[in-house]
């Protein structure tokens, strides 16, 4: 099942993707109404708890950034204000030189996990979505790097378009990831190239912290993250999960 959360007609609704009679993409609300995808506001598909993100979790990406493979997973946290739904708008501040997307597989925790073993880890996964974890590298500093000013900006972590049940993703360790900027393919990878795979990440994280239902793990991005500018349409795609669309806007839209 694919479950989205959308706002329309005065309320927040659970919704499932559905093709409309004329072939356009749409959603079917739980109450039976169907609407075109552009006629609803897409929210992050769940009430997210702790957001855990991975850096340098793809070997070629680590090399692209001139880092050696980290000895243990490079983990950082993000706050709830950075989340944004499908078809949202992300701000690029004036004057920055390098703002890039990061297409990532997001793993949603379904059952609390404390000191789980690798062999049992997948029992704790509710499902998956796509994340686009923007970074503005101009703000990088060597203190708790990547620092929050780079990675925890308002509306700079796109999550969605919907939550796909774990049961419908037979092999999350072999999914193609692709990013398109204005329709042109700019990033391509596969989750099989993660340095720490999902069971390893769950074993590692739950060895020192309890993961709870609704926590989300953003598992890192492969190579090919390039600069995006105002007006660009960025689509992150993961095999079997869908396409997550986002648009970059300048300061004026945000009253800056």
């Amino acid at each position: 099942m694919r479950l989205a959360r959308v706002a329309c007609a005065g309320a927040i609704h659970a919704a499932q993707p559905q093709l409309l009679a004329d072939g356009r993409a749409g959603v079917r609300l739980t109450d039976g109404r169907t609407l075109a995808e552009e006629d609803v506001v897409w929210l992050p598909p769940l009430e997210v708890g702790t957001i855990i993100a991975l850096g340098l979790n793809y070997a070629k990406r680590a090399r692209e950034l001139a880092f050696t493979t980290p000895e243990e997973p490079l983990v950082f946290l993000k706050g709830p204000g950075t989340l944004l739904g499908h078809r949202g708008v992300t701000r690029r501040p004036a004057g920055v030189k390098l703002m890039h997307y990061e297409c990532e597989l997001a793993v949603v925790i379904g059952r609390s996990a404390r000191a789980v073993r690798r062999s049992d880890a997948m029992d704790h996964v509710a499902g998956y979505c796509i994340a686009n974890d923007y970074a503005i590298r101009d703000y990088l500093e060597n203190w708790y790097r990547p620092n929050l000013r780079v990675k925890n900006r308002d509306g700079a972590t796109v999550l969605g378009p919907w939550l796909v049940d774990a049961a419908d993703v037979p092999d999350p360790g072999n999914l193609g990831l692709r990013t398109y900027v204005n329709g042109k393919l700019t990033q391509e990878g596969n989750t099989r190239d993660m340095i720490s795979d999902i069971p390893a990440l769950l074993e590692y994280l739950s060895s020192f912290m309890t993961l709870t239902t609704g926590d989300v793990i953003l598992t890192g991005t492969p190579e090919g993250a390039v600069n995006v500018g105002v007006g660009d349409e960025v689509v992150c795609e993961i095999e079997g999960l869908g396409r997550l669309q986002n648009t970059i806007a300048g300061d004026a839209l945000f009253g800056r």
């Binding site: 204000g81 708790y144 929050l148 912290m209």
Partner: protein
């Protein structure tokens, strides 16, 4: 966002409950920055922090006044990171310094517990995000009750013995400036907490010892550190 397990913090001012989101500012107490000495100019840092250095204490770390805190196995000592906590009262985005304080609901005591760690280059999640590593409380004191948040004395006691005295008068970014800088790129929402910074050197304790933090006008936050939960 749901709160962590068993958190009860009395709050008699809007929004009447914490959101469960807790941020902290690293090296925002002058003594903490000074303790690093010239290391701030050396690799891997290369230069002192320019923007506010922030971190999150996730919901699994939240604990109430009086709750026992587990010292993880294999770890001898923990650091008691006593800090003033700002509690947001109104949505706060891109605040000018002059209007920052009026966006607060009030204040509470934050104990930002850490496993001692030698570096601040990488986010220190395994050192700071352990279960129970962020006791908060004992209550939110309203903004109106605190005349000047930049002149509060913080005292840390371990087993009743005074181990640290610090003051919020020595913040690198005082309260209003910190709020302005943080909300420039991330919105804080009602019930969010921002710990303004921990002084150095931080007192340490072992399992079996009790930490008590007192801040002028905010009461006392007390937790026993244990090997196992009872």
């Amino acid at each position: 966002m749901p709160l962590g397990p068993c958190i009860t913090v009395t709050m008699d001012v809007p929004p009447f409950r914490l959101s469960g989101t807790v941020y902290g500012a690293l090296l925002n107490h002058r003594t903490a920055l000074q303790a690093l000495g010239d290391a701030v100019n050396q690799p891997p840092y290369q230069r002192p922090p320019q923007a506010a250095v922030l971190y999150l204490k996730p919901r699994n770390t939240l604990a109430a006044d009086g709750e026992p805190i587990v010292v993880p196995p294999g770890i001898a000592e923990l650091e008691i990171g006593a800090s003033l906590g700002l509690v947001i009262g109104r949505p706060a985005s891109h605040l000018p310094e002059s209007q920052a304080i009026e966006h607060l609901a009030g204040y509470l005591i934050v104990n930002d517990v850490s496993v001692p760690h030698p570096q601040y280059y990488r986010p220190s999640i395994p050192f700071k995000a352990r279960d129970g590593f962020c006791p908060l409380g004992p209550r939110v004191v309203s903004r109106a009750a605190i005349t000047n948040p930049d002149a509060l004395t913080i005292r840390v006691y371990v087993d009743g013995e005074l181990r640290q005295t610090a003051t919020t008068a020595e913040l690198v970014r005082p309260v209003a400036k910190l709020l302005a800088d943080v909300t420039d790129f991330m919105t804080l929402l009602p019930g969010d907490v921002l710990a303004v910074g921990v002084a150095s050197p931080t007192p340490r304790l072992r399992a079996g010892q009790r930490a008590r933090i007192e801040i002028d006008g905010l009461g006392r936050l007390e937790n026993l550190f244990v090997e196992h939960l009872p």
